[in-house]
Amino acid sequence: MTTADALLDIDGVTKRFGGFLALDRVSIQVRPGERLGLIGPNGSGKTTLINCVSGALPTDGGRILFEGRDITQLPAHQRTRLGIVRSFQIPKPFASMTVLENLGIPLEYAAHSRSGDAAVGALDILRMIGLDAKAHLRPAGLTQIEMRKLELARAMAARPKLLISDEAMAGLSSAEVDDILTILFRLNEQGITIIMIEHIMRAVMRFSERIVVLDAGNRIAEGTPAEIVRNPAVEKAYLGE
């Protein structure tokens, strides 16, 4: 895959926190419509990388290109408008608004539809994800998995071209994990490129077409799920020597 084909091109991105090198010239390219899994032990830099891609953190080196355009200097909200949307590991709902209103924000600001049809679009998303019954409740009245769904629903309302799901399934039961996976599969069928960061291996293996492995800020492996499982470098990263 050349740079020209990639939807997202992470090109030699480096990030430091004081003296600590969190990302060391990481390069990853994501094809349009791809389902990419991003895994690695704790502290390997996955969330840092996502923060750099989404614009929450500035980089210390390298470039990020989206649809061929250099977005390295763009603020986060503009990247969202371009179509890069991320969900948060720990859900961050807008507590003073109802579930429906929570979706209204990205619909209005990222997807550019004002009042009128915005309400309809939001309800559709809630129906698809199974939260329509709770549309007029505040986030405080939601269960753990419902909060995760809200987080995803909100991301969907931003009409993403690229959705980055950051550990959306942590702490969920097996059935709930399948629930979320179904939703993600359906989104991908609609043409949305998805990067999944997860620790739940079963989910990552089932979902990803390709997996990239990070360890200590470096990309140490890449390949299909079957290849990654057999890769000794990956095993070493997770289990040590």
Partner: protein, 312 residues
């Protein structure tokens, strides 16, 4: 209530104000009304940034005084008429809001708050040393003959009615617009809002500018009201506390809260100043503020909502 309905109410309120101005009562009542309405403007202005966006401004005196002293400077230089003074006082304070916002809003909210506190102190020092506007000695304004109205008390009262109505209308319009929704999102969770496409920095700067503008508007007619303007009373901590307490007590999420808080607390204080010392008055405001923040953080409006919820 659509905007047309709101405008009708607004005009009605102003009309009521004019009618009240025709009564033959003690001018002191008009001055007291002026002060309460001034607080409606201050509390509403503060709340645009504090309640809607969640950024606490401790430096209300700085913006208020800037409005007042801009008036003085313009009076000295051009003998400018009152409407011009109000507009320019607002603009100056709005620019101050924009400036301090630009310097500090990229950082954590607390730094903005501390910077606003700092602003008051620095500005006060500057004014004390600026003799053109009277400096520490103060500035005396001799009111010219009253245009149109029976007395300055009535004129100032009616003018403040108009300013209060305009400020509340603007706040309400912002609150119900897409800007208001964006501000609410960034108040609830700024990081998430930014990632959902909300241009948080731009909205914050907008809020600080509007808030500053109307605080300056509240201060611009001050020289006409007091006739003797000196720094320590113009920069009074009084304004800082009331600007916080009135929205907190009334309720910060909507325009009605600061109005209720200002009318209740402002009237109470006007009544109290004739009976108890001003310091005791302030102490009580401080205690009520802390009690509300701890026990009823959504203010009186929040309490009313809870009561209604329980009955239903």
């Amino acid at each position: 209530m659509k905007i047309r309905g709101a405008l009708v109410v607004a005009v009605a309120v102003i009309g009521l104000g004019v009618l009240l101005g025709g009564l033959r009562v003690n001018p002191y009542i008009y001055f007291a009304g002026y002060v309460v309405l001034q607080y409606v403007v201050i509390a509403t202005a503060w709340n645009v940034l504090g309640g809607y966006a969640g950024y606490v401004n401790f430096g209300t005196p700085a913006f208020f005084a800037l409005g007042a002293y801009t008036s003085i400077a313009l009076l000295e230089a051009f003998k400018a008429p009152l409407p011009v003074l109000i507009l320019c006082g607002g603009l100056a304070a709005g620019l101050l809001g924009l400036g301090i916002g630009y310097l500090t809003l990229r950082l954590k909210g607390v730094f903005f708050s501390i910077a606003t506190f700092a602003l008051s102190v620095v500005l006060q020092t500057l004014i004390i040393n600026w003799d053109y506007v009277g400096g520490a000695k103060g500035y005396t304004l001799i009111r010219p003959p009253v245009p149109f109205f029976r007395s300055w008390a009535v004129l100032l009262f009616i003018m403040m009615v108009v300013l209060a109505v305009v400020t509340v209308l603007v706040a309400r319009t912002i609150e119900r617009s897409w800007i208001g929704r964006g501000l609410a999102a960034l108040r609830d969770n700024e990081e998430a809002a930014e990632c959902m496409g909300v241009p948080t920095l731009r909205l914050k700067l907008f809020a600080t500018t509007i808030s500053g503008f109307f605080l300056g508007v509240a201060g611009a007619p001050f020289p006409y009201y007091v006739t003797y303007v000196e720094p320590s009373s113009t920069f009074d901590l009084n304004y800082a506390v009331n600007a916080l307490a009135m929205p907190m007590i009334g309720g910060t999420t909507t325009w009605l809260g600061p109005v209720i808080g200002a009318i209740l607390l402002g009237t109470a204080q006007q009544v109290a100043t004739v009976t108890i010392s001003s310091e005791l008055n302030l102490l009580i405001v401080g205690v009520v503020l802390v009690l509300f923040v701890v026990l009823a953080p959504e203010g009186l409006i929040g309490l009313a909502r809870k009561l209604r919820g329980r009955r239903a």
